[in-house]
């Protein structure tokens, strides 16, 4: 199975006045094509930092990250931006849609930047909107729609360029449960039917239970890994809850 993401010995240090914090303390893991991986941990565990580094938003202090075979820690800024538009798709917690464009254009922008032929752009946008059920709001502006709708638009934008890897940072964090449902449905659809590789950071067990594999992070290290295997979602959820309660319980047992 081809490895879409290989992370090797990632270390990230923050240096403030006389204080060194290790946000990432030596993390290594792989993600295969078509996987749906969740990264869980408490606040301050380093999971957002990890995602940011993989997403090329932030830089690791040491270590290597290979995405689609390319070591992104060594490439130039220009190559990075090419990389972002071709290989990556982002979904942020606060949506990050451009408020001067309507939803359709927000999604289309990703294709425009990619350099897609203009006549194909409209077609692709309509297609994905259809699949994610957001066709009615295509003409609206971000400030006119709800958080859940915004996130699904962001989802569409992330996917429409057919990236190797989709990265989601607490995508359900700002949503109510119903919207969260719909979003997670969408993501599952993308992973199941479209073969998208997704890495998602979350602190919410319910969200995480949709994944195929969970990495638990604490104090900058992976301390546990959980595979869904054949379990159904509810059972998986229970397993996750057990780990989480172990994590949050006795501090002595943590690394």
């Amino acid at each position: 199975m081809e490895k879409v993401l290989i992370a090797k010995d990632l270390v990230k240090q923050y240096v403030t006045k006389g204080h060194i914090t290790n946000a990432l303390n030596g993390i290594s893991f792989d993600v295969c094509r078509g996987e749906y991986v969740g990264i869980m941990g408490a606040s301050g565990s380093g999971k957002s930092t990890l995602l940011n580094c993989i997403a090329t938003i932030d830089q690791v202090t040491s270590g290597n990250i290979y995405i689609a075979g390319k070591d992104i820690t060594t490439i130039s800024e220009n190559q990075l931006s090419a990389f972002r538009r071709e290989q990556l798709g982002f979904i942020f917690q606060d949506f990050n849609l451009l408020d001067t464009l309507n939803c359709k254009d927000n999604i289309a922008l990703a294709l425009s930047i990619l350099g897609e032929k203009p006549r194909l752009i409209s077609k692709k946008v309509n297609e994905i909107a259809n699949e994610l059920g957001i066709t009615q709001i295509l003409k609206k502006y971000p400030y006119e729609i709800s958080g859940g709708q915004k996130q699904r638009v962001a989802c569409a934008r992330a996917i429409v360029t057919e990236p190797s890897l989709i990265l989601a940072d607490e995508p359900t964090g700002a949503l109510d449960s119903k919207s969260a449902f719909m979003l997670l449905d969408n993501l599952e659809y993308l992973n199941d039917q479209k073969g998208a590789t997704i890495v998602m950071v979350t602190h919410d067990a319910f969200t995480a239970s949709h994944c195929g594999r969970i990495l638990f992070i604490q104090d900058g290290r992976i301390f546990y890994e959980l595979y869904r295997g054949d379990s159904d979602r509810k059972a998986f959820f229970q397993k996750i809850m057990k780990v989480v309660s172990d994590m949050g319980g006795d501090n002595d047992h943590v690394l």
Partner: protein, 772 residues
């Protein structure tokens, strides 16, 4: 749709962004959305263009007013404007870059999104460039019409100063200035573009998305601040002192030193005032703990501290601009004042007698008038210029009497020297074959010699007359300083200058030309004339209190009763008759003549001037000549130049100061949005928050304003003190003008900032995204 692997082949292909039309749409929409943020930027750019256009169209303005530029004074003014324009360009350039950086900061998150979507740096800066270009074009479109209006105003202003009838003023548009303004704009635009690129390259994606707000660390060392504050007051007062009392006796250096001291004091002031304010107000518990005062005080103090240097610079700019907008015109007008009395004839030719009074050779005239005589050649008048000691076939006159093509007179009669043309005609005659004449050595009267040389006296002048001024070794100003006269400060230097002597007959002929009353003198009487106001008291006192008679050339003369007159005897560009006594004609015979003037009024009002100039230039002599018209233009241009420079610089400085202040304040208001949101969550009333914001904006603008007013006030007061020939009312009108312009411009920036800040506060606390 399935997920394909993109090869590097595809990467290269996709570099060609089909962003084309999308770019434009995005740029346009962005500009529209941020229209309010861009307002300050737009306003400043438009004003910059307007000023640039207006002050550079001055040349065209004068040609519309149809003023002859005989002595190139107008060209000089135009050139000066151009030089200052370069300076202005640089200032406005910095300003625009600064404004741009502020706008970029406001859009960090947005730029972060572009980056995560994979837009390359080039595309992002391209997008920003497009937006800047759009705004710029609008600013250009607005600035030029404003500039045209301003230049019309300037033309009316100039017309008044030059005493031209108003029907000469008509609407004019200077195409060169428009072209210049567009060039100015593009240069600016290009510079901004470069800066943008640099800024974007510096931005790290993680910072953009998180958009961290930093709180500056305040180093509030109390003792240091108090000492600095006291020191700054001391330095500023020292500056005032230097300006006023001029301890170095050199006005220029007093000015520079004074300004430097005041500036240094101002800088210290802004660095220390915040801590002082904090300490003072912070300790008044009744004030500190009331409402949001704590918040406001800390905010202000932190803000002033961190932008201390720029606030000081703003204050200094305001000070210099207000002072120059008032002092410039005042000094200008003062230099012109009384010159209506200093040009009593249409034209004048002057013959000097002293070796030292003669025109020395310069670049165009290396042989020099004084060096024209061949030491070994007794036949002076017949040998023109001589390099060495004798005439030879190669230079000057040839043996056979004809001009040699290489030097001196040419066959075709034009002067040249080694092939150079005598452009300024100093060497003389277009008419070929005329030898140079040194008037100092003439025999006979000036009139006779002019007629001999063929100068068409009666053709040019309707009336004319000669006046010779003599000097006597013993007669100096001191003779009129009666013992016991209370000398004033500005009279300290008097005493050593010579007093001229003229004969009453010639004097009366001059009075005839000037249409003033003649005088009659008894055998032993004399009269005094002067036109410099500084001498009024001296001669007045002398008239009342002198005991001794005046001794001139062996005669003893007494001042005729009441015969002290304010008179100008020649054409002067500044009043310089420090005293000339009129004596019976016989007293002057035997005295050493200093100079002789031939003064006259043109026969022909319209063409007289041109005829005169042509006739003079066709003579080859060292006579000094001038006309009323040229002198008037020279004097007025000096005035205009001073006024315009004052205005141009003044306005540009205010624009700079206002814009920087506005941008800083807006940047802070944007940062404050989160803080106000927090305050709202703590339960603060909307009214309180608006008041807090208002206090911040007002103090931030008022502090440099009032300090600048104080400095400017001192400087203007000092200028008004030094200028003695204008009335208080006349000077005050320029002070009001300056104050008015300052208030209008600075006030606009203040109002704009206030409204924008208010909107930003309301935007976040009302949870209404306005226009988003």
């Amino acid at each position: 749709m399935s997920f394909k692997k993109t090869t590097s082949q595809d990467i290269r292909k996709s570099r060609k962004s089909s962003l084309g039309p999308v770019f434009f749409v995005m740029a346009f929409k962005n500009v529209r959305k941020s229209a309010r943020d861009y307002l300050i930027y737009f306003f400043t750019l438009a004003l910059g263009v307007a000023m640039f256009y207006a002050f550079n169209s001055i040349g065209k303005q004068f040609s519309v007013l149809e003023i002859a530029d005989t002595m190139s004074f107008i060209s000089f003014t135009v050139a000066s404007m151009a030089v200052i324009s370069v300076f202005v360009c640089v200032i406005i350039g910095f300003l625009i870059v600064y404004a741009n950086r502020f706008l970029l900061k406001r859009r960090k998150k947005e730029i972060g999104i572009y980056m995560t979507l994979g837009m390359s740096e080039r595309d992002i800066s391209g997008l920003l460039m497009l937006e800047t270009l759009l705004i710029g074009i609008f600013a250009l479109a607005a600035g030029i019409p404003i500039g045209i209006l301003v230049s019309q105003g300037l033309m009316v202003f100039s017309a008044q100063m030059l005493d031209m009838p108003m029907n000469h003023t008509k609407l004019f548009i200077s195409q060169e200035s428009i072209a210049g303004s567009i060039l100015f704009f593009f240069v600016l635009f290009f510079i901004v573009h470069l800066f943008n690129k640099k800024e974007i390259r510096k931005l790290k994606l993680i910072e953009l998305l998180k958009a961290e707000k930093q709180n500056e660390a305040i180093n509030s060392n109390g003792i240091v601040s108090i000492v600095s504050f006291l020191l700054c007051i001391f330095i500023m007062v020292a500056g005032y002192y230097v300006l006023f009392y001029d301890p170095l006796q050199n006005m220029m250096s007093a000015l520079v030193l004074g300004i430097l001291l005041i500036s240094a004091g101002t800088i210290l002031f802004f660095f220390s005032v915040s801590t002082i304010l904090l300490k003072i107000f912070g300790s008044i518990k009744g004030y500190y703990y009331r409402g949001l005062n704590m918040f406001v005080l800390r905010q202000l103090s932190s803000r002033i501290k961190s932008s201390g240097l720029s606030m000081a610079v703003i204050c200094i700019l305001l000070f210099l601009s207000t002072a120059s907008m008032a002092a410039g015109p005042i000094l200008g007008e003062s230099s012109v004042k009384g010159t209506d009395k200093s040009m009593p004839y249409d034209a004048e030719l002057v013959r000097t007698y002293q070796e030292s009074d003669q025109v020395q050779g310069g670049e165009n005239d290396p042989w020099g008038y004084a060096d024209s005589w061949d030491q070994n050649d007794p036949e002076k008048y017949n040998d023109g210029w001589d390099h060495g000691d004798s005439w030879d076939g190669q230079d000057g006159w040839d043996d056979d009497g004809s001009w040699d093509g290489q030097d001196g007179w040419d066959d075709d009669g034009s002067w040249n020297q080694n092939g150079e043309e005598d452009v300024d005609q100093q060497w003389g005659a277009a008419g070929g074959g005329e030898p140079f004449e040194n008037s100092a050595l003439w025999e006979g009267s000036l009139t006779e010699n002019l007629q001999r040389l063929g100068f068409p006296l009666s053709d040019i002048f309707g009336e004319y007359g000669e006046l010779t001024i003599y000097f006597s070794d013993g007669l100096k100003e001191r003779a009129f300083l009666v013992e016991g006269y209370p000398k004033k400060d500005n009279e300290k230097g008097f005493g050593d200058f010579s007093i001229g002597i003229v004969g009453v007959e010639e004097y009366n002929r001059m009075m005839e030309l000037q249409k003033k009353e003649k005088i009659s003198l008894g055998e032993d009487e004399f009269a005094i004339t002067y036109n410099m106001d500084e001498y009024r008291n001296i001669y007045g006192y002398y008239a009342e209190n002198h005991k001794e008679p005046l001794r001139i050339n062996g005669y003893e003369l007494n001042l005729k009763e009441g015969a002290v007159y304010v008179r100008t005897l020649g054409i002067e560009n500044v009043l310089m008759n420090n005293g000339t006594v009129v004596v019976p004609q016989k007293v002057v015979s035997g005295l050493a003549a200093n100079r002789t003037m031939l003064n006259g009024n043109f026969r022909d009002e319209d063409g007289g001037h041109a005829k005169f100039v042509e006739a003079v230039r066709s003579m080859n002599t060292n006579l000094i000549w001038t006309t009323r018209q040229d002198t008037f233009v020279e004097v007025t241009m000096a005035n205009i130049l001073l006024s315009y420079v004052g205005l141009y610089l003044g306005i540009c400085f205010i624009i700079t100061a206002g814009a920087v202040l506005a941008l800083q304040q807006l940047s802070q208001a944007a940062d404050n949005q989160q803080r106000f949101l927090l305050l709202q969550k703590l339960g603060t009333k909307k009214r309180m928050m608006l008041k807090a914001m208002r206090t911040q904006v007002v103090v931030y603008f008022a502090l440099p304003f009032f300090l600048a007013l104080l400095h400017a006030g001192v400087m203007i007061f000092h200028t008004m003190n030094a200028v003695t020939n204008l009335s208080l009312a006349e000077q005050l009108k320029y002070v009001y003008l300056s104050g008015g312009i300052m208030l209008a411009l600075y006030g606009s920036y203040f109002v704009g900032t206030y409204l924008s800040s208010r909107r930003m506060v309301l935007e976040v606390i009302s949870k209404k995204k306005i226009g988003k």
